[in-house]
Amino acid sequence: MQKLRKRIQRNYDLLVDIAFWAFMVQSIIPWLRIMGFTKYRFEGPLQTISGVGFFLTWLLVVLLVIARFARDEYAEGLWQRVGRPVIMLLVIAPWIACLAFLINFERDPDAFARWAGQHLPDHIAKVTERAIKDNHPVIETVGIASYFSMVEVLFWTGAYLPFILLGLYKWQRWRDS
């Protein structure tokens, strides 16, 4: 067990590189589409493979972040240096993002309906409908646009934060080399 742990520690950076490039390769098509360079999207089996691949990569990254035993002291020190700016980012960025969403929705009242139509899967739409009928306290207090702005920001933060951490880790490592 000790030998395995040492081997993982010595190859920790290789695992980080594998996870990073796997994420980059899987993200090319979706980001090109979001930026408007292509309309291509994965469908059918490709969509399934892409989704499973993203989840496995995400899982690997989460394990790399939380598995203290897999790191030697230098890698652990790197993560602590990464942690400081990320903590600041986590405190500030979601509120800025929410504000950006809200300003957009307030300026263009139809924007929320268009966004909701594109982004809200059926079960979320049903929850919303039920929440409105049952006088959901959070939605009533902050409004539907605010509520789903926060949901959207939290979702994307949760999905992509591990990869942001990875990128910052690699950058710190590059600075040291």
């Binding site: 040492k6 010595r10 230098y74 890698a75 080399s177």
Partner: protein, 63 residues
């Protein structure tokens, strides 16, 4: 912190990977210590000193 790790390693004709293996750390850790980007923990400093059969203060210098 300044150190003589690179010199000591070169005297024994070891690569960074060789030294890393002997110290049970990654090659990147050895590189970071040699370039002064990372100060080793006390246990690691002791391991380095024992490996080179020298005192810690003969290898590392905080001046």
């Amino acid at each position: 912190m300044n150190n003589k790790l690179k010199v000591l390693r070169a005297m024994r004709d070891w690569s960074q990977a060789d030294l890393a293996q002997q110290l049970d750390v990654s090659r990147q850790a050895v590189n970071a210590i040699e370039t002064g980007k990372h100060d080793p923990s006390l246990p690691l400093a002791f391991r380095i000193a024992r490996l080179f059969e020298m005192k810690i203060e003969e290898i590392f210098d905080d001046q």
